[in-house]
Assembly symmetry: C2
Homo-oligomer: 414 residues x 2
């Protein structure tokens, strides 16, 4: 089985100024092809850092994917270091220069001297086309291993991966199969889920494993099987998956790459229900998650974010007396928000969220993290109170996940 190592270059990754989403995407794509990802290393953009990282990667993998340090600016030294480390010369790559000139002509802009410098490449590099930016990718064959260097800009890296790297890997590296099957749950914690399915997990043969991936109100259960017969592995994993789902019941909302948003979309489409949201503490986050699904316009009408008391009254028609008596964060208020949303947006089903995201605004009765959720149609409304923690962003995310899950279950019950 072939092994890959992903090397990401840039101090911004080490000091946490940039969240590394590139390597997650790369890992996921390699994994789909049955390439085993041995390690990911994030290194400094110094000569020593890059050399040490490359040496480690070459000792661990057959396929080394490197991102970062190819931009037009002074801090980008990756290709010089590679050339130097493997004893290659830097030569001017005319096709790249012509491509950059054409690109800028089309944009009606002029190139800078830095763009010309960008066209010098190690002489043993095979150029990988990048239609999304100026720096192309480069492929090197060294000591029987394949080393690929790409820009760190996510959509440029993805372009090169999709058009050059992944097809090359698919063609040249055949592999043992790895099958993943992920069961997505919402509404219960990791330990409690693990306890419920313990008997099944104990029966797993050695080549099947499970991982629990909790995240603010949701837990993913990832089953992994390794072996040579892909179909057999799929059947085995499927069998255990069904056993697990039978026990977990409606905690399970979907599989693999589904999301609460995509599952909600599927049900709403199927049942021909138009949906909308009324949001206070989540500030539109639930709506923005719903529209991550391509084609959401078929069932998602819109949303009212009423962050102020005033708008809860004037737009959603929440009774001022309700707000005075019970407060904006109360079961009574979210129920009226649902009714107001159904009327104002003309939707079939609405979900409403009101909570105290913090860090201020908590009371003894309703500490920071208190969130009320309601979901309903014209005849029926369900409610849920959750108690999140003290961190503002985490509370908002937690509330939005729970609200999505309440909406999902309400739609399923229609």
């Amino acid at each position: 089985m072939h092994k890959a190592v992903i090397l990401t270059i840039g101090d911004e990754l080490l000091i946490g100024q940039t969240i590394d989403t590139n390597s997650a995407w790369m890992g996921s794509e390699l994994n789909k092809l049955g390439v085993h990802i041995e390690e990911k290393i994030a290194i400094q953009d110094t000569k020593e850092g890059i050399v040490s990282g490359i040496d480690r990667a070459m000792s661990k993998g057959d396929i080394i994917l490197i991102t970062g340090g190819l931009g037009p600016t002074k801090d980008d030294i990756t290709k010089e270091v590679i050339a130097d480390h493997f004893g290659m010369d830097m030569i001017f790559n005319k096709p790249t220069w012509e491509r950059i000139e054409a690109l800028f002509a089309r944009w009606g802009r002029s190139t800078t001297p830095a763009h010309r410098d960008q066209c010098y490449m190690p002489d043993q590099a095979k150029i990988l086309e990048n239609k999304m930016g100026t720096a192309p990718g480069m492929l090197f064959e060294v000591d029987g291993k394949v080393l690929i260097s790409m820009p760190g800009v996510p959509y440029e890296m993805k372009y090169i991966m999709e058009h050059s790297v992944l097809p090359m890997i698919k063609e040249n590296f055949t592999n043992q199969s790895i099958i993943h099957h992920t069961i997505l749950t919402a509404g219960e914690g990791e330990s409690r889920i693990a306890a419920q399915i313990d008997d099944i997990v104990n029966q797993f043969p050695k080549h099947i494993s499970i991982a629990y991936l909790p995240n603010l109100g949701t837990v993913k259960l990832r089953l992994t099987a390794k072996g040579s017969n892909e179909e057999e592995l799929r059947n085995e994993v499927k069998k255990y998956g069904i056993q697990i789902e039978n026990i977990l019941g409606d905690l399970v909302y979907g599989h693999d790459n589904e999301s609460l948003a995509s599952v909600i979309g599927k049900i709403a489409l199927e049942k021909k229900l138009k949906i909308g949201t009324a949001e206070s503490c989540t500030g539109g986050l639930v709506a923005s998650k719903l529209v991550t699904v391509s084609g959401a316009s078929a069932y998602f009408e819109g949303s009212i974010v009423t962050y102020s008391y005033r708008l809860k009254e004037t737009i959603l028609n929440v009774n001022p007396q309700t707000l005075i008596t019970y407060g904006a964060v109360s079961e009574e208020t979210v129920i009226e928000m649902v009714t107001g949303t159904i009327n104002h947006l003309g939707v079939d089903v609405a979900v409403a969220i009101s909570g105290i995201a913090g860090p201020g605004g908590g009371t003894e009765d309703k500490p920071v993290g208190t969130v009320w959720i309601a979901c309903g149609n014209k005849t029926k409304t369900v409610t849920l109170r959750i108690q999140a923690g003290k961190d503002r962003q985490k509370n908002i995310e937690y509330a939005s996940n729970y609200a999505m899950n309440v909406l999902r279950k309400f739609l399923q019950a229609q």
Copy 2:
């Protein structure tokens, strides 16, 4: 200067099922204390993977921070591997067990056998309290180096870092200073910004460097200075920062940990302006970014997400004739959306966004990625057309960043 290595354990990180935000946060916190982050390594949760990662980390750093693999479930083997690798015994830790029992009693839930297993720790571990979950952190002193193991759940890791690890590092590791100063820009690309400030960057002394961090409509310029005299470094970096900002003008929206949302909040508060948004393709994302700022309720009133044509007419009062003649994604429509939002929400300033996020819906005139933005008050409206790419999520993010920037500049001009 002390060096840290961050080791993250878990196949979910390697195969990209989880985006690693933990190590970014840890890197940022260590960096603030002047600890140099030498490397980050993501490894498999196998014995060989963990041992190889720890060996590499011990060879590179004085402080090794490890996350992951401490949960109550079967896939968590970190502490057993550490004990085995360094020749320690596993012993039952009674205080941890008592804490877990008390925690579950308070929640009105019962513990599972897995929770009891979780209380076995290597005998040389110094226990680091975790009030956010069941698995405590552990500190080991090995070969003159400090090795710390923490759970991978973000808020548990953060609790242990904030309450135990960071104070310990602050006390025991004094360091050379690293100063960062980040200039935040929006509305122009990396190369063009680099070309504008090239003369200044060429004058930088050797201990000062610059990095360009582009992200969908924004570019961060991070200046880094290293040396012993912190105040001198600050002054130097400040001097170059001012020179750069003088050239870049209103491309610059803020510094360091500011965000477009926090800057918008600051200006709106200062000018006593109430703001709202009208969103189509961004589906509430701009509003949800505005409420990431604690205290946003002082200036953010709310938002109308009109994903359907119908709601653009019924709620935002967009003329049906405008939609027919120019389409939902047009300058005319977003201008009417601004007026509708000001009237409907009773705000002073509104920003409206309508675009084709894709992958479907593009035409020759308006390909996927076409976005119209308008921002205005009762007397004046500015508009901007942008052309993003083909990726749905990226287009939505790009549109939201540009909309925030248009709002920021409009508020500044009031």
